[in-house]
Every structure is written in C-alpha cells, then in structure tokens.
C-alpha cells in the first residue's frame, strides 16, 4: 500500500499538483493496480529478452534537415498562450 508521502513523492516527480483528497483517493487506487502487477512474479523470465519494438525496426535514420512544410515557426509559436518575445516564448523565471 502506497502511503501519502509516497503518493506525494510520485506526484512531485511527475510535476502534478494534488489536492489532499486526491492523495487519499489515488493512494488506494494506485496500490490496487500495483498489487495486481505482482501477478508477473509468477512468470519465469530468466534469459528472456526485452521487447521494445515489435516489427523489428532498428535505428531508422533520416537526413538532419529542418522541414517547415507542416507548420511555420510563427504558427507553432501561436499555439502558446504565453507572451512571445524575439520569436521565443517567454516563461517564468527559473531562479529568483
């Protein structure tokens, strides 16, 4: 069972603000799910390879070229609600 501190820690790693009521609710629900995952302990996976990709592709390369045919820099900047400055998005200070 995940305790409140563990839930808060995971939420912090994930950059998600949780209300106290959410900490309680998610703690129970996440524990149920993680407990269920224990079923995998039954399976012997010694010497079994990992699956990352299912169709056998590996390191598909393309030319390192900028392709602006789908959207221009301005159109992409327009997607942001934040103020723009010198063709960049202005964010809040990271250091006080």
């Amino acid at each position: 069972m995940l305790n409140d501190d563990q839930v808060k820690h995971v939420a912090k790693l994930a950059r998600i603000d949780l209300k106290d009521s959410e900490v309680k609710k998610f703690g129970k629900q996440l524990s149920d799910v993680l407990d269920y995952m224990d079923i995998l302990k039954e399976v012997d996976t010694e010497n079994v390879e990992l699956t990352n990709q299912v169709t056998g592709l590996n390191n598909v390369m393309r030319k390192d070229e900028v392709d602006s045919s789908k959207a221009s820099r301005e159109e992409l900047l327009d997607c942001s609600e934040l103020p723009k400055d010198s063709k960049q998005i202005r964010v809040l200070p990271t250091i006080k």
């Binding site: 839930v7 995971v10 939420a11 790693l13 994930a14 950059r15 998600i16 603000d17 949780l18 959410e22 998610f26 629900q29 996440l30 149920d32 799910v33 993680l34 269920y36 995952m37 079923i39 995998l40 039954e42 399976v43 996976t45 079994v48 390879e49 990992l50 699956t51 990352n52 990709q53 299912v54 169709t55 592709l57 598909v60 393309r62 789908k70 959207a71 221009s72 159109e75 992409l76 327009d78 997607c79 942001s80 609600e81 934040l82 998005i89 964010v91 809040l92 200070p93 990271t94 006080k96």
Partner: protein, 479 residues
C-alpha cells in the same frame, strides 16, 4: 432518396458515381441525424458543418465535370479528437488542450484530404485515449446507441457510436490496447486495429508509442478494405512505418475459407468471459467451419499476464509522452499566476489532467523510478516477449485466431468508472494482440439476450490485415 446516411461506403460511392444523389445531400442527411440524436448520444465534441458542406460541394463539382475520384471522396467521416486537424480544435478531450488548434494535419488526414475527405466533426473519446468507456472525457460520456444507460466503449467511443447511429459513413479511431475493437464490439460495427506501423501515427497525439495504432470503424468488410487502401503505408513523418508493400485489400473480399486454419485460443473462452459472449462467438465459428474452415482449439498460456504487462509499459510510455504537456508551447495556462516556473508546471498539469491521466502518469512515473525499473518495467517487457512467442507458435499451426473482443457486452454508465482495475480488465482480450503488434478486426457477431451487440475479433500475423478482411467478408455472407 431518404436516409442516405444509412448507406455503406460501397453503396454510397455507387450512388454518387451513378449521380443518384450528391455528396451534399449525403452530408446533409448525416447532419440531420446528428441533430436528431447526438444530444442523447454525445458522440461528437465538435461539428464542422460549414467545412463539410464546402468539401461536399467541391466533390459534386468535380463529379459533374466527370473527374476521376477516389473511393472515399465525398463520403462523410467522423474523426476521433486526437487526430490533428489544421485550424480545427483538437482537444484529446482533455482540459489541458481544451482550446488547442493545431497548425497542421495528421498524415492520415492529409491523405484523406487528398482523397476528397468530407469531415462532419471530431468525436468524443477518453482523455488522451486512456479508458475503456469514454467516461473519462472532459466533454462527458458517449452513450451506447443500443441502450442509452450504457457506455459506447472506449477510448474511441464517439467514433463507434457516431457510426453505429448513422451519423457518418465511416470513422477513425486509435487502438493502443483495444480502443477501436472494444467500442466497435459494444456498438455493433467493424473496427480494424492494424499491424503496429501499418498506418502513420504522425500528427496523432501519442499515448504509448510502442503500442499505438491508427485505424477505421466501418459498417462492412468492403468498407474496411476501402479505407485501409487509402490510409495504409509508410510515411516519412513516422519512422515506425516500415516499407512493407500495401496489398490490394479488395482482393481479399473475393476469397473463401476452404482449408483456412482457424485457431480458438481456449483462454479467450474461459475464466472471466461471460458464457453468452463465448457462446455467440462459437456459433459464428461453427458457420465458418461449415463453410470449409478447419477449426482447432489452441492455447495462448500467457494471455492472463497481458493486462499486467500493458498497465506497466503503457503508463510508463504515456508518462514520458505526456511530459510535453506543460502549458508552455501549447495547452491551457493555469488559472492563477504562479511565481516560479516549476509551480507553473505543477498547477498547469494539476488543473489540466483528469483523474485517469493523473493515475496513469503516476503509475508510469513509479514503475520507471529508481529501484522499481527492473522489477516492474523490465519484467513487463520480458513477459511481453513471451506473449509474442505464444502468438508465433500459434501461427505455425493456424492462419488466423478468433475469439471474443470483450469479456462482456457494454456495461452501465458509472458501473466501473471509480474502479480503475476493473475497468482495465475490460481490455483483457484485446491487449494480447496489441502486445505483439498484430492486426485484429472486430466484427459484429450477434446480440445478447438483452439486445446488446457482441463482437468477435479475427487476429492475423503482422501485415496480414487482408486475412482478417477475408474472414470477416465470408462471415458476413453466412449470416
């Protein structure tokens, strides 16, 4: 002609070609149906009537000029609200993207536009495609056209319900662990989950990148073939689409099942599967046997571990994919003004994501965190390998596999919404094929005693979508 919206693509394209009716008339009939029924069903989150009529008029002009036109041209479609549509809101049914208007089209939308697309609107879904009931949408649940107290399934519930209710002639969804097949089976339509990489995912918001696929909902196997013909194939914008030839899918509509070897995985008919569902699917398989197919029971012993594999690896990939939603480059800024950037992230994501997304991001973060990575994530990836080996062995003996899509027909709204684990079990029979990147076509199999659709799925080896279509077509003829 009345009720043109009830036609299949095949019927509609014949009517359009013979000039029995116009695309504008066809499109208007779809909107008439939407206006009549969608306040009850809630299949659409956005209607694009003006644009649709314009596209239809454009088609009709070309038709009058006797231009050569694509099979899908002029045919109204509903598109899941996770496909980027240039200039039209694409929300993923999430509060964080509620006002997002993408500046470009998904590759599939580009292809469809080149083929005369008439899009009637964007359809409802579980937030970021995470759910099995469309209850986790910030626009409210989509109801099942067969019973308004029940769900349409998910996550592509809006696309399934819109098609089943004849509000469009075909629709598009995404299937990561069952999100096309399960709502197709709940709503009594066909739903094709393609081989991983068969259709480009470019411009479709990523959920779990080693699982995600793009595919259609249709009213008949002929229509599935028509749609796949347009959307399948490699794409320079998606490096996971291999250069595998796209066959002529219509060729598979002429085949029979004489000598075809069908495997019935006993795990798909056993514990946890409702008797009525299993029975209805078995009846359909008997029809195929009478038509000359060879049927044998096989075993996929790893089936029972698939849900656990999926609900570890998928949230891991999801949590990484959703890191980009920080309300900087796109997404809704938080309501009050945080002082520091890190608070901005916390608030934007805390306000912008619904419960199920928060849960999955946290599970993903947890299983990827130091100390748990090997025990959860790597373990799941190893078991995934064993699931794939199960299928490889099975396909040495049989040509296709058939089983139910869902362990049970549609459930009541609210029945599972607060019990995530129970909701996850709804995917128990669709996840395994996804684990191995296999194509699987959900087909209507029959009705339950209380009038709900039951679906079966035809699973084939990678890139053998044609085999699924062939079996579905034969089955359609046997009913």
């Amino acid at each position: 002609m009345a009720d043109l919206n009830k036609l299949t693509i095949s019927e509609a394209k014949a009517g359009l070609r013979d000039k029995k009716f116009s695309s504008v008339e066809l499109t208007r009939d779809c909107f008439t149906e939407i206006k009549k029924r969608d306040k009850d069903l809630n299949a659409f989150v956005c209607l694009t009537e003006e644009e649709a009529i314009k596209s239809a008029e454009n088609f009709d002009k070309k038709m009058q000029a006797n231009e050569k036109l694509s099979d899908l041209a002029g045919i109204p479609v509903g598109v899941k609200d996770i496909y980027n549509t240039k200039g039209i809101k694409t929300t993923c049914c999430s509060p964080i993207l509620k006002y997002f208007v993408p500046p470009y089209d998904a590759s599939v939308i580009t292809r469809l536009k080149e083929n005369g697309m008439v899009m009637v609107g964007k359809t409802n879904m579980d937030e970021f495609a995470c759910g099995a009931s469309t209850e986790y949408s910030c626009f409210g649940v989509t109801k099942n056209p067969y019973d308004l107290d029940r769900v349409a399934g998910g996550s592509s519930g809006g696309s399934a319900a819109a098609l089943a209710a004849d509000m469009c002639l075909y629709s598009l969804g995404t299937d990561t662990g069952g999100s096309i097949r399960q709502p197709a089976s709940f709503c009594g339509v066909y739903g094709m989950k393609v081989t991983y990489g068969r259709v480009s995912r470019s411009g479709v918001t990523a959920m779990a990148s080693s699982w995600d696929t793009i595919g259609p909902f249709a009213k008949c196997p002929d229509d599935v073939a028509d749609i796949l013909q347009v959307i399948a194939g490699s794409d320079g914008y998606d490096s996971t689409t291999p250069n595998v030839d796209v066959p002529n899918y219509a060729d598979f509509l002429k085949g029979d099942v004489k000598g075809l070897r069908i495997g019935l995985p006993k795990e798909y008919f056993g514990d946890g599967i409702e008797d009525e569902t299993a029975g209805v699917v078995r009846e359909q398989v008997k029809l195929l046997e009478k038509a000359g197919a060879h049927v044998e029971e096989i075993s996929l012993p790893m089936t029972k571990y698939a849900v656990a594999v999926y609900y570890i690896t998928m949230p891991a990939e999801l949590s990484a994919n959703l890191e980009r939603f920080d309300a900087i480059r796109y997404g809704k800024a938080p309501s009050n003004d945080p002082e520091e950037l890190v608070d901005y992230y916390f608030k934007a994501r805390g306000e912008g994501f619904g419960d199920e997304i928060k849960r999955r991001i946290m599970i993903g973060t947890y299983v990827l965190s130091a100390g748990y990575y090997d025990a959860y994530y790597k373990k799941a990836q190893r078991v995934r390998t064993l699931i794939i080996e199960d299928f490889n062995k099975a396909f040495e003996k049989v040509d296709v596999l058939i089983g139910p899509v869902s362990p049970f027909p549609s459930f009541k709204v609210g029945e599972l919404a607060d019990d995530p684990l129970a909701m996850y079990m709804a995917d128990a029979l669709t996840i395994p094929a996804s684990s191995a990147g296999l194509p699987s076509l959900a087909c209507p199999a029959g009705m339950s005693k209380n009038g709900l659709p039951i679906g079966l799925q035809v699973i084939a080896p990678q890139f053998e979508e044609g085999r699924c279509i062939q079996v579905a077509k034969v089955l359609e003829g046997l009913k």
